[in-house]
């Protein structure tokens, strides 16, 4: 039965080949944009996850000003805070840490290092590099003399597992204090700066060296899902509210290098997405304009039969809407299939990039895997429908300006 939809749909397929080419171009652009956005989401999520587990956590608590100055005097006693944070729904782990700039000396050499005091058990459950250590390579207690050392630092100091070294740091009273430690395990993060300066000990051993027993510089909070930070943040703020000297921050503030690297990378990707969609839009304008110009006589007849110019414009827009919807549907199916491949198989770049490539302070996994972002996929499909309608505006306006007498002379 005749309807404006039927007329628009049949008109769309008058020039089957041209419509198919345009439809395919729009659908492919949707597929590429959706799949590569999902790939970016997957890669960023992996990097953030790796970054927060070895770094600041999804959320972190510091003493005010510590993040900016890294001044070791800005420590705080967590008291019951860590245990209370652990009770917030969505919190997986709370990792108290001490950070001290120090000097490490072996019998043959010395190096400036970052001494990190951790809770061995809690840290090993989360930190991807500590997870790789054998059982006899891990720190045993909070105040023991075991040390886990970066691979490069181990070489620089000409040490080996089981050998001793001396670490010297500034005590709270201003004097220099030294501790004798023994290498128990070796980690390799792939980041040269970290592997050349990392020395990890039990948290209390580090705190005693700096004269701040029971205190920490950071409570790194690991969430079960990164998206839960919006829900956990207010609860965390409520817990720290009674201690105004403390500040709770997200990983974006605690690890600005990673956050900015992701932001910059995604901005450049968005730019490419916009270019792709612009090119497609120009193609749609061309198709619809040609379609209008070829039908001048028919439009003249429709106007003569009593259609208003506005109604004729709406008919052209309806054709564009149907084209956009068909392309959005096809493109989203292709985008979902491509994403599915990228989630299941991924893209292996091992042959093209080193396995230890660093990005924003995090080691870049050379196997890129996508993650589903269905709401964004739906949004981009709708944007493309909107762009198709936008592209149809000029042809539609042109159709509405036709005068029937002149148009019917057109052959």
């Amino acid at each position: 039965m005749l309807s404006a939809f039927l007329y628009a749909w049949r008109s769309l397929w008058r020039n089957r080949r041209r419509t198919l080419i345009t439809l395919t171009a729009i659908a492919l652009s949707i597929m590429v944009v959706q799949a590569f956005h999902n790939l970016a989401v997957g890669v960023y999520a992996r990097m953030i996850d790796d970054g927060v587990r070895a770094g600041s956590g999804h959320l972190a608590v510091y003493r005010g000003g510590y993040l900016e100055s890294r001044e070791e005097n800005l420590s705080f006693a967590p008291g019951e805070l860590a245990a209370r944070i652990r009770t917030i729904a969505g919190v997986q782990r709370v990792l108290p840490r001490v950070y001290l700039p120090a000097l490490a000396q072996s019998s043959s050499d010395s190096r400036g290092i970052l001494l990190i005091g951790v809770d061995p058990e809690a840290e090993r459950a989360v930190n991807p590099f500590l997870k790789k250590l054998p059982e006899d390579g891990m720190l045993r207690d909070l105040d023991g003399r075991d040390a886990v050392i970066g691979r490069k630092l181990l070489g620089d100091l000409k040490l080996a597992v089981g050998r001793k070294l001396v670490v010297t740091a500034q005590h709270r009273d201003g004097t220099l204090h030294s501790e004798l430690l023994r290498v128990r395990g070796v980690v390799e993060t792939g980041i040269a700066d970290v592997d050349g300066s990392l020395l990890m000990v039990g948290r209390e051993r580090a705190a005693l060296l700096a004269g701040m027993p029971g205190e920490v510089h950071e409570l790194a909070i690991i969430l079960d899902r990164a998206e839960n930070d919006r829900r956990v943040s207010p609860a965390l703020a409520a817990l720290t509210g009674s201690r105004p000297e403390l500040a709770a921050v997200s990983w974006k503030e605690a690890m600005p290098n990673l956050a900015n690297a992701i932001k910059l990378d995604y901005a450049s990707q968005k730019f490419i997405f916009i270019i792709i969609l612009m090119i497609v839009t120009i193609g749609v304008v061309n198709t619809l304009l040609m379609s209008v110009m070829e039908r001048l006589r028919e439009f003249g007849v429709i106007l003569a039969l009593g259609s208003s110019p506005m109604r004729l414009r709406r008919m052209v827009l309806l054709e564009a809407l149907l084209l956009g919807l068909a392309a959005a549907l096809l493109g989203s199916i292709l985008g979902a299939l491509f994403t599915w491949y990228l989630v299941e198989t991924g893209i292996d770049l091992k042959d093209f990039i080193p396995e230890t490539m660093e990005f924003g302070g995090v080691v870049f996994d050379p196997v890129l895997r996508a993650a589903w972002d269905v709401s964004w996929m739906a949004r981009i499909a709708l944007y493309v429908v909107g762009l198709t309608l936008l592209a149809a505006l000029y042809p539609a306006i042109k159709a509405g300006r036709i005068t029937p007498v002149e148009a019917m002379r057109h052959h």
Binding site: L2, V301, G306
Partner: protein, 229 residues
């Protein structure tokens, strides 16, 4: 009171700086129910008169009135509505929409009018039977002969039940037999339905069947037989 009145109408077309006069001080009154032919050679102004009466064009001078509507001064929206509800067009080259079936073409103006689907389909099926093209409803224009296409065009013009049907050289692309059949059909519709027909033609078969022949030459009135019995 006549249904159609053209009073001292002139129409001049502009092609760049060139002015081409199509009608000059042309006057005509057509009563409701007439079957009138505008006769004359090519370029005499016949199509211009039809375009003015159909609200597709406006006069450069003078007034064109159909019923109570003065075409020259009516806003575009009113003219579109006038064409939709009060005028039916039959064109020389049929001008059916190729992607629609015969029945859908005939329904087109009814769709524009917003007539509900079952009602318009009923009306079109009735018209197809009346015009002798029943059974061709689902054919596309490309699958129809010239005569069949013109009958579909007549169905489209009649479907909206207009006051007046304007037909511009409706038999020019048809063979003699088909043309005569169609003329008889339109004459019959004129008598039975009382629809006013205003033709343009230089075909003697059309002129011979008209009850009134208005002759034009160089955009001027050259003769008027008046209404014949």
């Amino acid at each position: 009171m006549p249904l159609i009145t053209l009073a001292d109408v002139s129409k001049t077309y502009r092609h760049g700086s060139l002015e081409v006069p199509a009608l000059a001080n042309f006057s005509l009154a057509v009563e409701a129910g007439e079957f009138t032919v505008l006769a004359g050679p090519s370029g005499s102004g016949k199509t211009t008169v039809l375009n003015l009466v159909g609200g597709l064009d406006r006069p450069s001078a003078g007034t064109v009135t159909v019923g109570t509507l003065e075409i020259g001064g009516a806003p575009a929206k009113i003219l579109a509505d006038y064409r939709l509800r009060r005028v039916g067009f039959i064109f020389q080259s049929y001008n059916l929409i190729p992607v629609l079936t015969a029945a859908e073409n005939a329904e087109f103006t009814l769709m524009l009018q917003g007539v509900p689907r079952p009602q318009r389909r009923r009306r079109v099926i009735g018209l197809f039977a009346e015009l002798g093209i029943d059974g061709l409803e689902e054919r596309r224009p490309g699958d129809l002969s010239g005569g069949q296409q013109q009958r579909v065009a007549i169905a489209r013009a009649l479907a909206a039940e207009p006051d007046v049907i304007l037909a511009d050289e409706p038999t020019a692309n048809l063979d003699s037999r088909t043309a005569e059949e169609l003329l008889d059909l339109m004459r019959d519709l004129n008598l039975r339905r009382g629809v006013t027909f205003l033709f343009s033609s230089h075909d003697d078969r059309v002129i011979g069947r008209a009850r009134r022949v208005v002759r034009l030459e160089d955009g001027r009135l050259a003769g008027d037989t008046g209404q014949r019995p």
